[in-house]
Symmetry: none
Subunit: 233 residues, 2 copies
DNA sequence: TCGCCAATTGATATATGATTGATCTACATG
DNA sequence: CATGTAGATCAATCATATATCAATTGGCGA
């Protein structure tokens, strides 16, 4: 079951929570669910969750009060390396939303980067917005072995939230490569560039908690409105 | 496996791992596969692998925890800050070198991002190579308050080595933005694109340990040969 | 407002099985 | 003698499961 590169489960969980705190999904002062409930939700044993929480209290990110609960004691870090959303408006930031263009289960295209074990994948095409302005078109391939079917209704929330809650899958590692690529012909007409125009293109490969690569995605973004941003601290 | 005159096998293996760590293929905190599995993968005996790992723990690059695993513990080296955000050959990696085109002390251009306190800056223009192939042209602005004069002879080594050794300057934070920009007219003729061609353009701002931004740089790279790579963990 | 009780919730302890590094012995090679 | 391989065994860690104790919280009645 285990494979190369996979951290111990309790460390995976603590990394996951650290990322949620940094990304602002867990807010300062917030009380976490009871340990038993939270462990069940994550599909792990309570003892394992407690080890993860222990590492967070050692880092000062969580306060644990017997009989009361576990509380977040840290603020979101807007410059977090762990913010997986990496395109921003030129003016900075922007609230991300998306319109799903299509969801299909297809045999994997041989031009895709190597990922997952299944011969099939789910292809999701989205138009992405930042604070309402058209920012990018995106094609995501999710390994077919993870889930039988995905409907557009599954994708109303954040994709990573969907991965975690429905697929019990969380992203442990990712690699982005930024190059140049022609805007694909399925780009909708409200994207402000002509099909075939060379645009900055992000190719992302992501790995799950067990070290298996599970997702590949391509993002063509509008350089007049957004930029790919990487911060390091 | 070994051949005459070559290094002992266990040293070959440790050198191999050191290169993987330096190249960012093995990330800080990552757990290596179990020794038995890893040795089988490398086609060597466990004892030999253990000798190799021993030399790495002596160098402080790996921590070995009984019952848990072997973990990468990359040294905190300011140059390693940049190992994760960089341009790489499409085939992966590449040995970076550079040819300095010009070094000047000039008043700051008002189009520059805000950085430093001085009204003047050092402008360094370089042609960058990866494993000998032309990869990018780069313009770096270093704040004028940090040093009076910079000559091309100062820049033979890594720039960040120069910063640290000569300027006692410690890079604590950096931000990259990747967009699109026309190749400037000072790009040398051996760069394989015409001046004015829209190319991926990296705008980097770096901050020193005191929170002051000290450097701004622009890099135009050839998307046919290299890509900007960001690895997230 | 105060005190009490029951429910909630974290803390602690123990046990078990699997994983994984540590150690040791033996042997072959050059 | 250092290197490399092979195998057996020991010890630490990881993850799970279960039970019990202790602190907090909230509701209820006087």
């Amino acid at each position: 079951m285990s494979s190369h590169g996979a951290l111990p489960l309790y460390l995976q969980i603590s990394e996951l929570l650290i990322r949620d705190i940094a990304a602002g999904r867990l807010i300062d002062g917030e009380r976490l669910p009871p340990e038993r409930e939270m462990a069940a939700g994550l599909g792990i044993a309570v003892g394992t969750l407690r080890q993860a929480l222990k590492t967070l209290t050692d880092k000062g990110l969580v306060e644990r009060i017997q009989g009361s609960g576990n509380y977040i004691r840290a603020k979101a870090d807007p410059t977090s390396v762990y913010a997986l959303l990496r395109i921003e408006l030129l003016s900075g930031g922007g609230l991300p939303t998306a319109r799903v263009l299509s969801v299909d289960r297809l045999p994997k295209d041989p031009t895709l980067p190597e990922f997952g074990r299944s011969a099939e994948g789910h292809r999701i095409r989205r138009l992405r917005f930042l604070s309402g302005t058209v920012a990018a078109v995106e094609e995501i391939w999710l390994d077919g072995a993870l889930v039988g079917r995905i409907g557009p209704e599954d994708l109303s929330e954040s994709l990573y939230l969907f991965y975690r809650q429905r697929l019990n899958l969380w992203i442990a590692r990712a690699e982005d490569r930024v190059g140049l690529g022609p805007l694909p012909d399925w780009a909708p007409s409200d994207f402000p560039h002509a099909q075939g125009t060379p645009l900055p293109k992000i190719t992302r490969t992501t790995w799950g908690q067990d070290g298996q690569s599970v997702e590949a995605s391509f993002t063509w973004y509008d350089p007049d409105r957004v930029a790919y941003v990487a911060r390091l601290k």
